[in-house]
Protein backbone atom coordinates (compact mmCIF):
# COMPACT_ATOMS: atom_id res chain seq x y z
CA UNK A 1 0.00 0.00 0.00
CA UNK A 2 2.73 2.45 0.89
CA UNK A 3 4.49 1.66 -2.39
CA UNK A 4 1.27 2.57 -4.11
CA UNK A 5 1.03 5.82 -2.23
CA UNK A 6 4.61 6.74 -3.03
CA UNK A 7 3.94 5.97 -6.66
CA UNK A 8 0.89 8.18 -6.63
CA UNK A 9 2.82 11.02 -5.03
CA UNK A 10 5.50 10.64 -7.67
CA UNK A 11 2.91 10.72 -10.45
CA UNK A 12 1.33 13.90 -9.17
CA UNK A 13 4.73 15.40 -8.56
CA UNK A 14 5.73 14.83 -12.16
CA UNK A 15 2.38 16.10 -13.46
CA UNK A 16 2.63 19.26 -11.38
CA UNK A 17 6.18 19.79 -12.58
CA UNK A 18 5.19 19.59 -16.24
CA UNK A 19 2.10 21.72 -15.74
CA UNK A 20 4.12 24.42 -13.97
CA UNK A 21 6.71 24.16 -16.74
CA UNK A 22 4.01 24.80 -19.31
CA UNK A 23 2.74 27.88 -17.50
CA UNK A 24 5.99 29.35 -16.21
CA UNK A 25 7.16 31.22 -19.35
CA UNK A 26 3.79 32.96 -19.45
CA UNK A 27 4.02 33.85 -15.77
CA UNK A 28 7.60 35.03 -16.12
CA UNK A 29 6.74 37.50 -18.86
CA UNK A 30 3.80 38.73 -16.81
CA UNK A 31 6.11 39.28 -13.84
CA UNK A 32 8.53 41.17 -16.05
CA UNK A 33 5.70 43.31 -17.41
CA UNK A 34 4.67 44.33 -13.89
CA UNK A 35 7.99 46.13 -13.47
CA UNK A 36 9.31 49.30 -15.04
CA UNK A 37 12.63 49.95 -16.66
CA UNK A 38 13.96 51.78 -13.62
CA UNK A 39 13.53 48.61 -11.52
CA UNK A 40 16.54 47.11 -13.38
CA UNK A 41 14.94 43.68 -13.30
CA UNK A 42 17.01 40.55 -13.27
CA UNK A 43 16.38 36.91 -12.63
CA UNK A 44 12.97 35.73 -11.57
CA UNK A 45 11.59 39.25 -11.32
CA UNK A 46 9.13 38.67 -8.50
CA UNK A 47 6.68 41.55 -8.69
CA UNK A 48 7.10 42.73 -5.11
CA UNK A 49 5.86 46.16 -6.12
CA UNK A 50 3.66 45.60 -9.20
CA UNK A 51 3.15 48.59 -11.47
CA UNK A 52 1.09 48.97 -14.61
CA UNK A 53 3.26 51.69 -16.13
CA UNK A 54 4.79 49.37 -18.71
CA UNK A 55 1.35 48.31 -19.92
CA UNK A 56 0.33 51.93 -20.29
CA UNK A 57 3.54 52.79 -22.14
CA UNK A 58 3.32 49.76 -24.43
CA UNK A 59 -0.33 50.44 -25.19
CA UNK A 60 0.40 53.98 -26.29
CA UNK A 61 3.81 53.66 -27.91
CA UNK A 62 3.16 50.34 -29.66
CA UNK A 63 -0.17 51.45 -31.07
CA UNK A 64 -1.81 48.29 -29.77
CA UNK A 65 -5.31 49.69 -29.86
CA UNK A 66 -4.95 49.64 -33.65
CA UNK A 67 -3.19 46.26 -33.65
CA UNK A 68 -5.81 44.55 -31.53
CA UNK A 69 -8.59 46.09 -33.61
CA UNK A 70 -7.02 44.87 -36.87
CA UNK A 71 -6.51 41.41 -35.43
CA UNK A 72 -10.08 41.32 -34.26
CA UNK A 73 -11.51 42.44 -37.62
CA UNK A 74 -9.42 39.90 -39.52
CA UNK A 75 -9.96 37.00 -37.12
CA UNK A 76 -13.69 37.60 -36.71
CA UNK A 77 -14.28 37.89 -40.46
CA UNK A 78 -12.21 34.80 -41.27
CA UNK A 79 -13.96 32.84 -38.52
CA UNK A 80 -17.50 33.84 -39.51
CA UNK A 81 -17.06 33.34 -43.25
CA UNK A 82 -15.18 30.06 -43.00
CA UNK A 83 -17.71 28.70 -40.49
CA UNK A 84 -20.56 29.37 -42.95
CA UNK A 85 -18.62 27.97 -45.89
CA UNK A 86 -17.56 24.88 -43.91
CA UNK A 87 -21.14 24.30 -42.85
CA UNK A 88 -21.99 23.99 -46.53
CA UNK A 89 -19.06 21.86 -47.61
CA UNK A 90 -19.28 19.68 -44.51
CA UNK A 91 -23.02 19.17 -45.08
CA UNK A 92 -22.45 18.11 -48.68
CA UNK A 93 -19.53 15.77 -47.94
CA UNK A 94 -21.16 14.42 -44.81
CA UNK A 95 -24.69 13.65 -46.01
CA UNK A 96 -24.60 13.48 -49.81
CA UNK A 97 -22.92 11.44 -52.47
CA UNK A 98 -21.96 12.84 -55.80
CA UNK A 99 -19.57 12.19 -58.63
CA UNK A 100 -15.99 12.78 -57.56
CA UNK A 101 -16.75 13.35 -53.88
CA UNK A 102 -13.85 11.28 -52.55
CA UNK A 103 -11.00 12.80 -54.55
CA UNK A 104 -12.47 16.25 -53.94
CA UNK A 105 -12.53 15.64 -50.20
CA UNK A 106 -8.93 14.43 -50.42
CA UNK A 107 -8.07 17.74 -52.06
CA UNK A 108 -9.57 19.59 -49.08
CA UNK A 109 -7.58 17.39 -46.67
CA UNK A 110 -4.35 18.58 -48.28
CA UNK A 111 -5.19 22.08 -47.11
CA UNK A 112 -5.04 21.07 -43.46
CA UNK A 113 -1.30 20.50 -43.51
CA UNK A 114 -0.70 23.28 -45.98
CA UNK A 115 2.16 25.64 -45.07
CA UNK A 116 1.62 29.36 -45.70
CA UNK A 117 5.33 29.37 -46.45
CA UNK A 118 4.52 27.84 -49.84
CA UNK A 119 1.90 30.40 -50.85
CA UNK A 120 3.02 33.64 -49.28
CA UNK A 121 5.34 34.69 -52.14
CA UNK A 122 2.74 34.38 -54.92
CA UNK A 123 0.09 35.90 -52.63
CA UNK A 124 2.29 38.97 -52.18
CA UNK A 125 2.72 39.55 -55.91
CA UNK A 126 -0.86 38.63 -56.81
CA UNK A 127 -2.33 40.99 -54.22
CA UNK A 128 0.10 43.68 -55.31
CA UNK A 129 -1.13 43.32 -58.89
CA UNK A 130 -4.77 43.75 -57.96
CA UNK A 131 -4.11 46.53 -55.45
CA UNK A 132 -5.05 44.56 -52.33
CA UNK A 133 -1.63 44.59 -50.70
CA UNK A 134 -1.69 46.27 -47.26
CA UNK A 135 -5.44 45.80 -46.89
CA UNK A 136 -7.40 43.54 -44.54
CA UNK A 137 -8.48 41.57 -47.59
CA UNK A 138 -4.95 40.36 -48.20
CA UNK A 139 -5.06 38.69 -44.76
CA UNK A 140 -8.70 37.65 -44.77
CA UNK A 141 -8.98 35.93 -48.15
CA UNK A 142 -6.05 33.47 -47.89
CA UNK A 143 -6.93 32.58 -44.32
CA UNK A 144 -10.51 31.81 -45.30
CA UNK A 145 -9.15 29.63 -48.09
CA UNK A 146 -7.04 27.73 -45.60
CA UNK A 147 -9.56 27.55 -42.77
CA UNK A 148 -12.22 26.12 -45.08
CA UNK A 149 -9.98 23.07 -45.53
CA UNK A 150 -9.95 22.25 -41.82
CA UNK A 151 -13.56 23.37 -41.44
CA UNK A 152 -14.71 21.02 -44.18
CA UNK A 153 -12.95 18.12 -42.54
CA UNK A 154 -14.33 19.02 -39.12
CA UNK A 155 -17.95 19.66 -40.12
CA UNK A 156 -18.04 16.60 -42.37
CA UNK A 157 -17.08 14.47 -39.37
CA UNK A 158 -19.94 16.07 -37.42
CA UNK A 159 -22.55 15.58 -40.16
CA UNK A 160 -21.54 11.97 -40.61
CA UNK A 161 -22.13 11.40 -36.91
CA UNK A 162 -25.75 12.64 -37.05
CA UNK A 163 -28.37 9.90 -37.42
CA UNK A 164 -29.43 9.62 -41.09
CA UNK A 165 -32.99 8.88 -39.94
CA UNK A 166 -33.27 12.48 -38.77
CA UNK A 167 -32.48 13.80 -42.22
CA UNK A 168 -34.73 11.27 -43.91
CA UNK A 169 -37.69 12.07 -41.70
CA UNK A 170 -37.36 15.75 -42.49
CA UNK A 171 -37.13 15.01 -46.18
CA UNK A 172 -40.22 12.83 -46.05
CA UNK A 173 -42.00 15.85 -44.61
CA UNK A 174 -41.01 17.69 -47.71
CA UNK A 175 -38.15 19.78 -46.38
CA UNK A 176 -35.70 21.04 -48.96
CA UNK A 177 -32.01 20.27 -48.52
CA UNK A 178 -31.54 23.79 -47.22
CA UNK A 179 -34.46 23.37 -44.83
CA UNK A 180 -32.92 20.17 -43.47
CA UNK A 181 -29.62 21.92 -42.89
CA UNK A 182 -31.02 25.03 -41.22
CA UNK A 183 -33.93 23.64 -39.23
CA UNK A 184 -32.86 20.09 -38.41
CA UNK A 185 -29.08 19.90 -38.37
CA UNK A 186 -27.93 23.40 -37.47
CA UNK A 187 -29.40 23.33 -33.94
CA UNK A 188 -27.41 20.17 -33.26
CA UNK A 189 -24.26 21.46 -34.90
CA UNK A 190 -23.74 24.28 -32.44
CA UNK A 191 -21.07 22.61 -30.26
CA UNK A 192 -19.14 21.42 -33.32
CA UNK A 193 -19.37 24.89 -34.84
CA UNK A 194 -18.24 26.53 -31.63
CA UNK A 195 -15.15 24.33 -31.51
CA UNK A 196 -14.39 25.15 -35.13
CA UNK A 197 -14.81 28.88 -34.52
CA UNK A 198 -12.60 28.80 -31.43
CA UNK A 199 -9.78 27.08 -33.32
CA UNK A 200 -10.01 29.19 -36.47
CA UNK A 201 -10.17 32.40 -34.44
CA UNK A 202 -7.06 31.42 -32.49
CA UNK A 203 -5.04 30.36 -35.53
CA UNK A 204 -6.00 33.52 -37.38
CA UNK A 205 -5.26 35.73 -34.39
CA UNK A 206 -1.81 34.18 -34.01
CA UNK A 207 -0.79 34.19 -37.68
CA UNK A 208 2.44 36.08 -38.24
CA UNK A 209 4.12 35.32 -41.56
CA UNK A 210 1.17 36.45 -43.69
CA UNK A 211 0.86 39.69 -41.75
CA UNK A 212 4.59 40.32 -41.99
CA UNK A 213 4.60 39.93 -45.76
CA UNK A 214 1.19 41.29 -46.71
CA UNK A 215 0.45 44.28 -44.44
CA UNK A 216 3.86 45.49 -43.24
CA UNK A 217 3.50 48.62 -45.35
CA UNK A 218 0.31 49.82 -43.70
CA UNK A 219 0.72 50.75 -40.01
CA UNK A 220 -3.04 51.06 -39.52
CA UNK A 221 -3.65 47.52 -40.84
CA UNK A 222 -0.99 45.73 -38.82
CA UNK A 223 -2.23 42.89 -36.66
CA UNK A 224 -1.34 42.64 -32.98
CA UNK A 225 1.37 39.95 -33.43
CA UNK A 226 3.00 41.98 -36.22
CA UNK A 227 2.82 45.11 -34.09
CA UNK A 228 4.41 43.19 -31.23
CA UNK A 229 7.21 42.00 -33.49
CA UNK A 230 7.99 45.54 -34.70
CA UNK A 231 7.65 46.97 -31.19
CA UNK A 232 9.99 44.33 -29.77
CA UNK A 233 12.55 44.98 -32.47
CA UNK A 234 12.48 48.69 -31.71
CA UNK A 235 12.47 48.83 -27.92
CA UNK A 236 13.66 45.46 -26.57
CA UNK A 237 17.23 46.58 -26.04
CA UNK A 238 16.06 49.77 -24.35
CA UNK A 239 13.26 48.45 -22.15
CA UNK A 240 12.33 44.78 -21.99
CA UNK A 241 9.52 45.44 -19.51
CA UNK A 242 7.55 47.30 -22.19
CA UNK A 243 7.99 44.43 -24.64
CA UNK A 244 6.83 42.01 -21.97
CA UNK A 245 3.76 44.15 -21.33
CA UNK A 246 3.04 44.27 -25.06
CA UNK A 247 3.34 40.49 -25.30
CA UNK A 248 0.85 40.09 -22.45
CA UNK A 249 -1.56 42.48 -24.21
CA UNK A 250 -1.35 40.46 -27.43
CA UNK A 251 -1.87 37.07 -25.81
CA UNK A 252 -4.54 38.14 -23.32
CA UNK A 253 -7.60 37.86 -25.60
CA UNK A 254 -6.61 34.36 -26.69
CA UNK A 255 -5.79 33.21 -23.16
CA UNK A 256 -9.20 34.39 -21.96
CA UNK A 257 -11.01 32.68 -24.84
CA UNK A 258 -8.96 29.55 -24.20
CA UNK A 259 -9.76 29.42 -20.50
CA UNK A 260 -13.48 29.89 -21.19
CA UNK A 261 -13.64 27.38 -24.03
CA UNK A 262 -10.77 25.06 -23.14
CA UNK A 263 -12.87 21.93 -23.47
CA UNK A 264 -13.66 22.90 -27.06
CA UNK A 265 -10.05 23.64 -27.88
CA UNK A 266 -8.70 20.38 -26.56
CA UNK A 267 -11.49 18.37 -28.18
CA UNK A 268 -10.97 20.09 -31.51
CA UNK A 269 -7.23 19.71 -31.56
CA UNK A 270 -7.25 16.11 -30.45
CA UNK A 271 -9.97 15.08 -32.87
CA UNK A 272 -8.31 16.99 -35.65
CA UNK A 273 -5.05 15.30 -34.81
CA UNK A 274 -6.35 11.77 -34.64
CA UNK A 275 -8.58 11.91 -37.65
CA UNK A 276 -6.44 14.25 -39.70
Amino acid sequence: MSVNRAERALTYGVLVMFAVGAIYPVISILFLALHTKSDLVTGFAWPTDPKLDSFRAAWNEGNFATGLRSSFIVAATVTAVSAVLSLGTGYAFGTMRFRGDRPLFGLFLLGIIFPYEATVIPLYYDFKNVGLLNTYWSLILPQIGQSVAFGTFWMRAFFRSTPPALVEAARMDGASSFGVLVRVLLPQARPALLTLCALVFTYTWNEFLLALVLVSGAPDKQTAPLGLSFFAGAVRAGDPTKVAAAAVLVMMPIVVVYLVLQRHFVRGMLAGAIKG
Binding site: L15, L85, M96
Partner: protein, 317 residues
Protein backbone atom coordinates in the same frame (compact mmCIF):
# COMPACT_ATOMS: atom_id res chain seq x y z
CA UNK B 1 -28.84 3.29 -60.83
CA UNK B 2 -27.84 0.18 -62.69
CA UNK B 3 -27.06 -1.70 -59.47
CA UNK B 4 -30.48 -1.05 -57.99
CA UNK B 5 -31.99 -4.53 -58.50
CA UNK B 6 -29.10 -6.21 -56.70
CA UNK B 7 -29.53 -3.82 -53.77
CA UNK B 8 -33.22 -4.51 -53.43
CA UNK B 9 -32.73 -8.26 -53.49
CA UNK B 10 -30.56 -8.38 -50.37
CA UNK B 11 -32.22 -6.27 -47.61
CA UNK B 12 -34.65 -7.57 -45.00
CA UNK B 13 -38.19 -6.32 -44.75
CA UNK B 14 -37.62 -3.31 -42.53
CA UNK B 15 -34.69 -2.21 -44.60
CA UNK B 16 -36.79 -2.67 -47.69
CA UNK B 17 -39.27 -0.19 -46.33
CA UNK B 18 -36.55 2.32 -45.69
CA UNK B 19 -35.20 1.67 -49.13
CA UNK B 20 -38.65 2.31 -50.59
CA UNK B 21 -38.93 5.54 -48.63
CA UNK B 22 -35.57 6.51 -49.96
CA UNK B 23 -36.71 5.90 -53.46
CA UNK B 24 -39.88 7.88 -52.84
CA UNK B 25 -38.03 10.99 -51.79
CA UNK B 26 -35.25 10.32 -54.32
CA UNK B 27 -32.93 12.51 -52.26
CA UNK B 28 -31.99 10.48 -49.23
CA UNK B 29 -28.41 10.52 -47.95
CA UNK B 30 -26.14 8.26 -49.88
CA UNK B 31 -27.90 9.02 -53.12
CA UNK B 32 -25.97 10.84 -55.79
CA UNK B 33 -27.09 14.42 -55.54
CA UNK B 34 -25.96 17.24 -57.72
CA UNK B 35 -27.28 19.78 -55.25
CA UNK B 36 -24.16 18.98 -53.21
CA UNK B 37 -22.17 21.16 -55.58
CA UNK B 38 -24.25 24.14 -54.52
CA UNK B 39 -23.02 23.71 -50.95
CA UNK B 40 -19.44 22.96 -51.91
CA UNK B 41 -18.76 25.56 -54.57
CA UNK B 42 -18.46 28.66 -52.33
CA UNK B 43 -15.97 26.99 -49.99
CA UNK B 44 -14.16 25.32 -52.86
CA UNK B 45 -13.85 28.65 -54.67
CA UNK B 46 -12.02 30.22 -51.71
CA UNK B 47 -9.84 27.18 -51.25
CA UNK B 48 -8.86 26.97 -54.92
CA UNK B 49 -8.39 30.70 -55.43
CA UNK B 50 -6.39 31.48 -52.31
CA UNK B 51 -4.61 28.25 -51.49
CA UNK B 52 -4.26 25.93 -54.48
CA UNK B 53 -3.78 28.60 -57.13
CA UNK B 54 -1.00 30.35 -55.17
CA UNK B 55 0.69 26.98 -54.70
CA UNK B 56 0.61 26.39 -58.45
CA UNK B 57 1.86 29.93 -58.95
CA UNK B 58 4.76 29.25 -56.55
CA UNK B 59 5.74 26.22 -58.60
CA UNK B 60 5.62 28.36 -61.75
CA UNK B 61 7.71 31.13 -60.16
CA UNK B 62 10.32 28.60 -59.12
CA UNK B 63 11.22 28.07 -62.78
CA UNK B 64 12.07 31.76 -63.27
CA UNK B 65 14.89 34.07 -62.43
CA UNK B 66 12.91 37.08 -61.21
CA UNK B 67 13.65 40.09 -59.04
CA UNK B 68 9.97 40.88 -58.46
CA UNK B 69 10.02 44.00 -60.63
CA UNK B 70 11.39 43.49 -64.12
CA UNK B 71 10.41 40.74 -66.54
CA UNK B 72 11.34 37.28 -65.32
CA UNK B 73 13.56 34.93 -67.27
CA UNK B 74 12.69 31.25 -67.62
CA UNK B 75 15.56 29.17 -66.26
CA UNK B 76 14.06 25.69 -66.01
CA UNK B 77 15.35 23.75 -63.03
CA UNK B 78 18.30 26.07 -62.37
CA UNK B 79 16.81 27.35 -59.10
CA UNK B 80 16.42 23.81 -57.81
CA UNK B 81 19.94 22.88 -58.88
CA UNK B 82 21.25 25.93 -57.06
CA UNK B 83 19.15 25.17 -53.98
CA UNK B 84 20.44 21.63 -53.73
CA UNK B 85 24.06 22.79 -53.89
CA UNK B 86 23.60 25.92 -51.72
CA UNK B 87 25.36 25.26 -48.40
CA UNK B 88 22.95 27.58 -46.62
CA UNK B 89 19.96 25.58 -47.88
CA UNK B 90 21.65 22.42 -46.72
CA UNK B 91 22.45 23.97 -43.33
CA UNK B 92 18.88 25.22 -43.03
CA UNK B 93 17.42 21.78 -43.58
CA UNK B 94 20.04 20.31 -41.26
CA UNK B 95 18.99 22.75 -38.56
CA UNK B 96 15.38 21.77 -39.20
CA UNK B 97 16.31 18.13 -38.74
CA UNK B 98 17.95 19.01 -35.42
CA UNK B 99 14.87 20.95 -34.42
CA UNK B 100 12.75 17.89 -35.17
CA UNK B 101 14.58 16.10 -32.36
CA UNK B 102 13.52 18.86 -29.97
CA UNK B 103 10.04 19.47 -31.34
CA UNK B 104 9.08 15.86 -31.97
CA UNK B 105 11.33 13.18 -30.49
CA UNK B 106 11.82 14.60 -26.99
CA UNK B 107 8.15 15.61 -26.48
CA UNK B 108 6.94 12.19 -27.67
CA UNK B 109 9.29 10.45 -25.24
CA UNK B 110 8.28 12.78 -22.40
CA UNK B 111 4.63 12.21 -23.23
CA UNK B 112 5.06 8.45 -23.18
CA UNK B 113 6.90 8.55 -19.85
CA UNK B 114 4.16 10.56 -18.26
CA UNK B 115 1.46 8.34 -19.73
CA UNK B 116 3.24 5.28 -18.40
CA UNK B 117 3.08 6.81 -14.94
CA UNK B 118 -0.54 7.83 -15.26
CA UNK B 119 -2.04 4.63 -16.61
CA UNK B 120 -1.23 2.90 -13.34
CA UNK B 121 -4.13 4.65 -11.64
CA UNK B 122 -6.77 7.27 -12.40
CA UNK B 123 -5.77 10.91 -12.08
CA UNK B 124 -8.02 13.31 -10.28
CA UNK B 125 -8.11 16.89 -11.49
CA UNK B 126 -6.89 16.02 -14.95
CA UNK B 127 -8.89 18.88 -16.48
CA UNK B 128 -6.68 21.35 -14.67
CA UNK B 129 -3.47 19.68 -15.80
CA UNK B 130 -4.79 19.39 -19.33
CA UNK B 131 -5.62 23.11 -19.44
CA UNK B 132 -2.13 24.00 -18.28
CA UNK B 133 -0.34 21.52 -20.55
CA UNK B 134 -2.20 22.75 -23.61
CA UNK B 135 -1.62 26.45 -23.01
CA UNK B 136 1.64 26.76 -25.02
CA UNK B 137 -0.15 25.49 -28.13
CA UNK B 138 -2.55 28.42 -27.97
CA UNK B 139 -0.02 31.24 -27.93
CA UNK B 140 1.19 33.15 -30.96
CA UNK B 141 4.76 32.39 -32.02
CA UNK B 142 5.61 36.06 -31.57
CA UNK B 143 4.45 35.98 -27.95
CA UNK B 144 6.29 32.73 -27.28
CA UNK B 145 9.41 34.33 -28.73
CA UNK B 146 9.17 37.34 -26.39
CA UNK B 147 8.69 35.11 -23.35
CA UNK B 148 11.72 32.98 -24.17
CA UNK B 149 13.95 35.86 -25.18
CA UNK B 150 13.49 36.99 -21.59
CA UNK B 151 14.02 33.53 -20.09
CA UNK B 152 17.25 33.09 -22.06
CA UNK B 153 18.50 36.66 -21.52
CA UNK B 154 21.87 37.12 -19.78
CA UNK B 155 20.07 38.49 -16.72
CA UNK B 156 16.97 36.35 -17.22
CA UNK B 157 15.42 33.57 -15.14
CA UNK B 158 17.39 30.65 -16.61
CA UNK B 159 20.79 32.13 -15.87
CA UNK B 160 19.52 33.26 -12.48
CA UNK B 161 18.46 29.68 -11.75
CA UNK B 162 21.89 28.38 -12.77
CA UNK B 163 23.62 30.90 -10.52
CA UNK B 164 21.30 30.05 -7.64
CA UNK B 165 22.15 26.37 -7.80
CA UNK B 166 25.86 27.06 -8.13
CA UNK B 167 26.20 26.43 -11.85
CA UNK B 168 26.86 30.08 -12.61
CA UNK B 169 29.78 29.13 -14.85
CA UNK B 170 27.26 27.71 -17.34
CA UNK B 171 25.31 30.95 -17.53
CA UNK B 172 25.42 32.66 -20.92
CA UNK B 173 23.24 34.64 -23.33
CA UNK B 174 21.76 31.46 -24.76
CA UNK B 175 20.26 32.79 -27.98
CA UNK B 176 23.44 34.64 -28.89
CA UNK B 177 25.77 31.69 -28.40
CA UNK B 178 27.01 29.97 -31.56
CA UNK B 179 26.80 26.45 -30.21
CA UNK B 180 23.80 26.93 -27.91
CA UNK B 181 21.43 29.07 -29.99
CA UNK B 182 19.94 26.16 -31.96
CA UNK B 183 19.40 23.91 -28.94
CA UNK B 184 17.91 26.92 -27.15
CA UNK B 185 15.40 27.37 -30.00
CA UNK B 186 14.81 23.63 -29.81
CA UNK B 187 14.09 23.92 -26.11
CA UNK B 188 11.31 26.37 -26.89
CA UNK B 189 9.97 23.87 -29.42
CA UNK B 190 9.94 21.15 -26.79
CA UNK B 191 8.05 23.47 -24.47
CA UNK B 192 5.47 24.26 -27.16
CA UNK B 193 4.73 20.65 -28.10
CA UNK B 194 5.22 18.44 -25.04
CA UNK B 195 1.83 19.25 -23.55
CA UNK B 196 0.11 18.35 -26.81
CA UNK B 197 1.86 14.97 -26.83
CA UNK B 198 1.00 14.29 -23.20
CA UNK B 199 -2.68 15.14 -23.58
CA UNK B 200 -2.86 13.18 -26.82
CA UNK B 201 -1.34 10.07 -25.25
CA UNK B 202 -3.20 10.25 -21.96
CA UNK B 203 -6.49 10.63 -23.82
CA UNK B 204 -5.49 7.73 -26.06
CA UNK B 205 -4.50 5.52 -23.15
CA UNK B 206 -7.95 5.96 -21.65
CA UNK B 207 -9.36 4.20 -24.72
CA UNK B 208 -7.24 1.11 -24.15
CA UNK B 209 -9.58 -1.54 -22.70
CA UNK B 210 -8.77 -2.08 -19.03
CA UNK B 211 -9.19 -5.82 -19.57
CA UNK B 212 -5.84 -5.74 -21.36
CA UNK B 213 -4.21 -4.29 -18.25
CA UNK B 214 -5.99 -6.81 -16.03
CA UNK B 215 -4.76 -9.63 -18.24
CA UNK B 216 -1.22 -8.28 -18.10
CA UNK B 217 -1.41 -8.03 -14.30
CA UNK B 218 -2.76 -11.55 -13.98
CA UNK B 219 0.23 -12.64 -16.02
CA UNK B 220 2.37 -10.91 -13.40
CA UNK B 221 3.64 -8.16 -15.66
CA UNK B 222 5.42 -5.32 -13.90
CA UNK B 223 5.08 -1.67 -14.75
CA UNK B 224 7.68 -1.92 -17.50
CA UNK B 225 6.26 -5.02 -19.17
CA UNK B 226 2.78 -3.60 -18.92
CA UNK B 227 3.91 -0.42 -20.66
CA UNK B 228 5.65 -2.17 -23.52
CA UNK B 229 3.06 -4.92 -23.95
CA UNK B 230 -0.15 -2.92 -23.55
CA UNK B 231 0.24 0.86 -23.48
CA UNK B 232 2.75 1.35 -26.28
CA UNK B 233 0.96 -0.80 -28.88
CA UNK B 234 -2.35 0.75 -27.86
CA UNK B 235 -1.02 4.24 -28.56
CA UNK B 236 0.41 3.44 -31.97
CA UNK B 237 -1.88 5.82 -33.86
CA UNK B 238 -1.47 8.62 -31.34
CA UNK B 239 2.29 8.36 -31.50
CA UNK B 240 2.32 8.53 -35.27
CA UNK B 241 -0.01 11.52 -35.25
CA UNK B 242 2.04 13.28 -32.57
CA UNK B 243 5.17 12.78 -34.64
CA UNK B 244 3.63 14.31 -37.72
CA UNK B 245 2.10 17.31 -35.96
CA UNK B 246 5.23 18.15 -34.04
CA UNK B 247 7.47 17.59 -37.06
CA UNK B 248 5.39 19.97 -39.14
CA UNK B 249 5.69 22.44 -36.24
CA UNK B 250 9.46 22.04 -36.39
CA UNK B 251 9.59 22.67 -40.13
CA UNK B 252 7.50 25.80 -39.70
CA UNK B 253 9.47 27.48 -36.95
CA UNK B 254 9.59 30.81 -38.82
CA UNK B 255 7.66 32.91 -36.29
CA UNK B 256 9.85 31.84 -33.41
CA UNK B 257 13.20 32.25 -35.12
CA UNK B 258 12.33 35.48 -36.90
CA UNK B 259 11.34 36.98 -33.56
CA UNK B 260 14.22 35.70 -31.47
CA UNK B 261 17.59 35.76 -33.20
CA UNK B 262 16.67 35.99 -36.90
CA UNK B 263 18.78 32.97 -37.79
CA UNK B 264 21.82 34.16 -35.83
CA UNK B 265 24.34 34.30 -34.47
CA UNK B 266 25.88 34.06 -37.94
CA UNK B 267 23.73 31.53 -39.72
CA UNK B 268 23.62 29.10 -36.82
CA UNK B 269 19.81 29.00 -36.57
CA UNK B 270 18.87 29.46 -40.23
CA UNK B 271 15.85 27.38 -41.24
CA UNK B 272 14.33 26.98 -44.73
CA UNK B 273 11.36 29.30 -44.14
CA UNK B 274 13.62 32.09 -42.90
CA UNK B 275 16.02 31.70 -45.82
CA UNK B 276 13.08 31.65 -48.20
CA UNK B 277 11.70 34.84 -46.67
CA UNK B 278 15.03 36.61 -46.99
CA UNK B 279 15.52 35.58 -50.60
CA UNK B 280 12.04 36.69 -51.53
CA UNK B 281 11.73 39.95 -49.63
CA UNK B 282 15.25 41.08 -48.76
CA UNK B 283 17.48 39.90 -51.65
CA UNK B 284 14.65 40.05 -54.24
CA UNK B 285 15.46 36.59 -55.58
CA UNK B 286 11.83 35.62 -55.96
CA UNK B 287 12.27 32.58 -58.20
CA UNK B 288 14.92 31.10 -55.97
CA UNK B 289 12.80 31.74 -52.88
CA UNK B 290 9.85 30.04 -54.59
CA UNK B 291 12.00 27.00 -55.28
CA UNK B 292 12.95 26.78 -51.58
CA UNK B 293 9.28 27.17 -50.64
CA UNK B 294 8.30 24.35 -53.00
CA UNK B 295 11.00 22.08 -51.57
CA UNK B 296 9.81 22.86 -48.03
CA UNK B 297 6.18 22.22 -48.96
CA UNK B 298 7.14 18.96 -50.66
CA UNK B 299 9.00 17.87 -47.52
CA UNK B 300 5.96 18.61 -45.35
CA UNK B 301 3.57 16.84 -47.72
CA UNK B 302 5.88 13.83 -47.98
CA UNK B 303 6.01 13.55 -44.20
CA UNK B 304 2.25 13.83 -43.85
CA UNK B 305 1.60 11.22 -46.51
CA UNK B 306 4.13 8.91 -44.94
CA UNK B 307 2.17 9.12 -41.72
CA UNK B 308 -1.19 8.65 -43.41
CA UNK B 309 0.27 5.62 -45.07
CA UNK B 310 1.83 4.27 -41.88
CA UNK B 311 -1.27 4.72 -39.82
CA UNK B 312 -3.45 3.28 -42.58
CA UNK B 313 -6.16 5.73 -41.82
CA UNK B 314 -6.56 7.25 -45.24
CA UNK B 315 -9.99 5.65 -45.29
CA UNK B 316 -12.02 6.96 -42.40
CA UNK B 317 -14.82 5.14 -40.76
Amino acid sequence: MTEAPAQVAVPEKAELQVERARRASQRAPGEPRNVAWLYILPGLAFYVLFTLAPLAHAVELSFYDWDGLTVGRYVGLANYREAFSDPLVRDSFKHSAELIVFYAAIPVILGLLLTALLTRHPVRGFTFFRTALFLPQMLAGVVVAQAWVWIYASNGPLNELLRTVGLGSLARPWLGDFSWALPAIGGVGTWVTYGLCMVLFIAGAQNIPSSLYDAARVDGAGAMREFFAVTLPGLRNEIVVAFVLTTINALRSFDLIYNTNQGGPGTSTYVPSLYMYQNAFVYNRVGYAAAIAVILAAAIFALAFLVLYLSGRGEER
